[in-house]
């Protein structure tokens, strides 16, 4: 059962030495942190590593959290920096993810998976696959806006950007997501014919 205490109360208890309070905080935020990590890492193992690292870093610097923003916003900024460091370490060229060659590869992976998993062919499945094909930044902004329920200002705080920049990026990310979703669905329709 999850704690009914607020994030701030749990943080205060953690700082007073109650580790169970931090476990409650982890339980409360782990799903979204893991989802956000998935937007950068692509594999569950890597996402788990990023998410775990993020919670450990947050624990270490919990004293520096001043409560000026939501705890979740502060936590997501840690996820973002941790994921970026992770990507750099893994030498993944994030800029090339969106290029045509990689897109074809991912597209093939999607269709290959579909052949064997007919039950997964729902629209939400294609939406998730389309999100995987986005640039990490785009996927993170969409995830934070829709699943994390963060405002443009809060996303800006987490990613170190101006709210207006986030607004433009969100608009472009949605456009790209829409295009990729349509492309995947069109590809699927062709395969069925």
């Amino acid at each position: 059962m999850q704690s009914k205490l607020s994030d701030i109360e749990l943080i205060e208890q953690t700082l007073a030495g109650n580790q169970q309070a931090y476990a409650d905080l982890v339980k409360r935020h782990q799903r979204f942190v893991f989802t956000l990590a998935m937007r950068f890492a692509k594999t569950r193992e890597d996402a788990e590593e990023i998410a775990q690292d993020c919670f450990i870093k947050a624990y270490r610097s919990l004293q520096s959290f001043q409560g000026n923003s939501k705890f979740s916003t502060w936590l997501y900024s840690i996820v973002y920096t941790t994921a970026m460091t992770f990507l750099r370490k893994k030498r993944v060229d994030t800029d090339s993810i969106d290029d045509e060659n990689n897109f074809i590869q991912i597209e093939n992976k999607v269709s290959g998976y579909d052949v064997n998993n007919a039950e997964n062919k729902s629209r939400s499945f294609y939406l998730n696959k389309a999100i995987e094909q986005l640039l990490p930044d785009d996927a993170a902004i969409i995830t934070m806006f829709y699943q994390g329920e963060q405002s443009l200002e809060e996303i800006g705080q987490a990613l170190g950007m101006e709210a207006n920049t986030v607004k433009v990026k969100l608009f472009r990310a949605r456009q790209r997501l829409k295009e990729k979703l349509e492309r995947n669905l069109k590809h699927e329709a062709k395969e069925l014919i």
Binding site: F34, E48, Y59, S124, N128, I131
Partner: protein, 166 residues
């Protein structure tokens, strides 16, 4: 505002002023292109909001807490020592120095009488040679060597930790 889509997304997200909102409502009601685009974007918005979030492994919280506990256990001695202990040790040394000073001053025979400017050679300073015997010096040097090794080890450990973090 560049195009219909941007205007409509702003409206859907609630980032418009009341005046802009009224204008857009009117446009949706009157203009077919706006109406169709609005319906399309609303349906996409619904889908985006309904996207499922991933579930981490069952033992995720346990793993995080275990990692924190392990890290806590490996915390360097410097960070684990309570400040009160440090203050206690400092107080002990201050007290010892003050006691020694008081002892030394109480055993100094100051010149008395009508010769305030008597030469310093008349002062009787306690004989330090009796305190600095060979075993005392050996213990002192041994302690210095141990302390030096400990500080060198601490320095190397800190360097290694910094390297691991990077």
């Amino acid at each position: 505002m560049n195009n219909i889509e941007e205007i409509l997304w702003n409206y859907i997200d609630g980032h418009c002023t009341p005046d802009e909102q009224n204008t857009i409502i009117e446009l949706i009601a009157k203009d077919e292109a706006y109406r169709l685009k609005y319906q399309e974007l609303m349906s996409l918005n619904k889908e985006f909001m309904a996207m499922e979030i991933d579930e981490p492994p069952m033992a995720f919280t346990y793993n995080v807490m275990e990692a924190i506990r392990t890290e806590h256990a490996q915390q360097p001695l410097k960070a684990a020592i309570n400040n009160r202990i440090i203050m206690g040790i400092a107080a002990f040394f201050v007290l010892t120095i003050v006691t020694l000073l008081v002892y030394a001053l109480s055993h100094v025979s100051l010149p008395t009488g009508s010769h305030p400017a008597a030469p310093a050679s008349n002062l009787k300073i306690p004989d330090l040679k009796s305190f600095l015997s060979k075993p005392v010096m050996q213990v002192f040097f041994f302690f210095d060597v141990v302390l030096g090794l400990y500080l060198f080890d601490t320095y190397l450990r800190r360097k290694k930790v910094q390297k691991d973090i990077q």
